[in-house]
């Protein structure tokens, strides 16, 4: 037991160090930050205008009204920011490291290789998306005069954590394929395209077959829709439990796949 506690403490220290390095990167690239702010604002304005145009033609979209979709846009920005902070840049670095052979160094380090690979690059400018998202949600709720029950906030946070865990696992699995197929950088583009387009809408508007695809095959919608639902429409315990279940499934699956890939990389099973 003491060993486990020690190991966890060590890994937390490692993650902390990498986050610190990310902050240093931020100081190095102040212009990147300005660009990120500009991009986030343009993206937000585009979204808001788009929704205004749509709700100029209708009053509701599959049970979601205008302010409900604004909250969803906010959640989308939050997810995008959290993914962009550590997960996405680290996965890009991982694929490049495998291609260039510098992944060897990760393996020679005395810490869990999945943890090291998952936190190795931090892009603090993505925090702007996070702030924009929180801002949009707060603004929508306040202008609607709507309060939040603590249970809603709790459900929102649980759903968000599950959604991120699912997307993280999915991205890790995609990146892990580069152990076999080296030229795979573009695969992240596919995910990005789906996330940017489909992730901005409630999953319920899609036809059933697409809903299944967007929940289990390329799980982009789950992370956005369920947390937004927690704020706008409310979710029941069963949905949350299912979210936790799916997240655990994805995390376990990606962990097993990672270990299998490592054995392949080091030739252990050959």
């Amino acid at each position: 037991m003491k060993g486990v506690v020690n190991a966890v403490r060590h890994h937390l220290a490692v993650v902390g160090s990498y986050l610190r390095v990310g902050l240093l990167n931020f100081v190095q690239y102040r212009t990147d930050f300005a660009v990120a702010v500009a991009n986030a604002l343009v993206g937000l304005v585009t979204q808001v205008i788009g929704l205004a145009v749509i709700f100029g033609q209708t009053t509701q979209l599959n049970g979601w009204d205008h302010s409900g979709l604004l909250v969803l846009v906010g959640v989308f920005f939050i997810c995008s920011g959290l993914l962009g902070l550590v997960i996405r840049p680290s996965m890009q670095t991982l694929m490049e490291a495998i291609r260039l052979g510098t992944f060897d160094f990760t393996l020679t380090k005395p810490a869990d290789s999945q943890v090291l690979a998952s936190v190795q690059t931090v892009a603090p400018q993505a925090a702007t998306d996070l702030l924009v998202g929180v801002g949009v949600i707060a603004w929508t709720l306040v202008s609607d005069g709507q309060g939040l029950h603590p249970w809603q906030v709790g459900a929102f946070l649980v759903a968000l954590a599950c959604g991120l865990a699912i997307i993280y696992s999915f991205l890790l699995m995609l990146s892990t394929f580069s152990f076999w197929f080296v030229k795979l950088d573009n695969i992240l583009v596919v995910f990005e395209g789906l996330f940017q387009s489909a992730g901005r809408w409630p999953v319920s508007i899609f036809p059933p077959w697409l809903r299944l695809v967007l929940t289990f095959v390329v799980p982009v919608s789950f992370a956005v829709t369920v947390p937004a639902q927690a704020i706008v429409l409310g979710v029941d315990g069963a949905t949350l439990a299912a979210a936790v279940g799916v997240a655990v499934l994805f995390l376990t699956g990606s962990r097993l796949f990672w270990r299998h890939a490592l054995r392949h990389y080091t030739g252990a099973s050959a």
């Binding site: 390095v21 052979g101 510098t102 005395p110 810490a111």
Partner: protein, 333 residues
């Protein structure tokens, strides 16, 4: 007591066989033909604590594969190895903390941040105590003259500066086994010398075992009391450098300088009639020939008696030449 023990270590890769042409490509879709490549073929050796060993061989000889197995990055196909009591490819954290792998062509420092912050990252990963960290950093800074580099982002460093920082960063946890793969590649002569003397100093101060591959014989001559030569995955030689030359060099080089105003006969005193004498360089002032080792005394005596010799030296051929000959003769055999 030896820290590194290698017994019958073997690694084979399965590679797809590719043939040209559309037909072959289509055929490969149905049934992929593969072939086994023996990268390392049952090699064995021991390295004692504190030894510095050079690991030589041409490209593709199996050096890096062996080094990667010892660093725990690759599982061998068969055979055993132990480094400091650990089986490398189990990669237990205890082993990884006691070892360092430095590759001259790849860098592990973070590209965009100051060097010192990459070092702090290693402090967390390797769980280096703060006191140890600062005293070792001081020592390394002093030995490698890193003072002005630590606050610069890696991308702003020259190749040589980057390599110094790489090496220092890899040794902060004071590994007792160090694997160096081409540590001086691409560096200028002064920087090569600097890295070399640093490695020697690290070895002297800590008593760490060092295993080094390099294409520069200068590295090997300066650092290694002992060399292991492999070719096509097989061990060819394990011993000191002079022994390598004695074993594999079949010739000696004789250089003579003529008297300033002497006439030299066109047939060089009958030297041209000998089949086993190769003239490698000739001018009005002197002559260089290569002869089989056992014939050297006779040829030298003959030259002294028939040519207007002012000065004569007999030398072993340069080490690069010997090594090259080892590999080419093995290919022909």
């Amino acid at each position: 007591m030896s820290t590194i023990t290698v017994r019958d270590l073997r690694k084979t890769y399965v590679v797809p066989v590719r043939e040209g042409g559309v037909k072959a490509a289509l055929g490969a879709l149905v049934r992929r033909r593969t072939r086994e490549v023996e990268a390392v073929q049952r090699i064995s050796f021991d390295i004692a604590e504190g030894e510095v060993v050079g690991f030589l061989g041409p490209n593709g000889a199996g050096k890096t594969t062996t080094l990667k197995m010892l660093a725990g990055l690759l599982h061998p196909t068969s055979g055993e190895a132990s480094v400091g009591g650990h089986v490398p490819w189990r990669r237990d954290h205890g082993y990884l903390r006691s070892m360092a792998l430095i590759m001259g062509q790849r860098n592990q420092l973070q590209w965009d941040i100051p060097v010192i912050d990459s070092y702090r990252l290693n402090r967390a990963v390797y769980r280096i105590a703060d006191a140890d960290f600062s005293s070792r950093l001081d020592e390394l800074t002093d030995l490698l003259d890193l003072g002005s580099l630590l606050d610069k982002p890696v991308r702003n460093l020259s190749l040589g500066e980057r390599m110094k920082c790489e090496v220092a960063g890899s040794l902060l946890h004071q590994p007792m086994t160090v694997f160096l793969d081409e540590p001086t590649i691409g560096l200028d002569v002064a920087m090569q010398r600097r890295i070399r003397s640093f490695i020697a100093e690290y070895n002297r101060r800590t008593g760490a075992s060092v295993m080094l591959t390099s294409h520069y014989m200068g590295d090997v001559e300066a650092l290694c009391q002992r060399v292991i030569v492999i070719h096509h995955g097989r061990l060819l030689h394990d011993g000191d450098l002079a022994g390598l030359v004695r074993t594999f060099s079949a010739t000696k080089t004789i250089t003579v300088e003529f008297d300033a105003d002497a006439d030299v006969a066109a047939d060089l005193g009958g030297l041209r009639d000998h089949d086993d004498v190769t003239i490698t360089d000739q001018s009005a002032h002197g002559l260089t020939v290569e002869v089989p080792k056992d014939r050297a005394p006779q040829v030298a005596a003959r030259m002294l008696s028939t040519l207007p010799v002012a000065d004569l030296t007999v030398e072993e051929p340069p080490i690069e030449g010997v090594i090259e000959r080892v590999f080419t003769s093995q290919d022909e055999a």
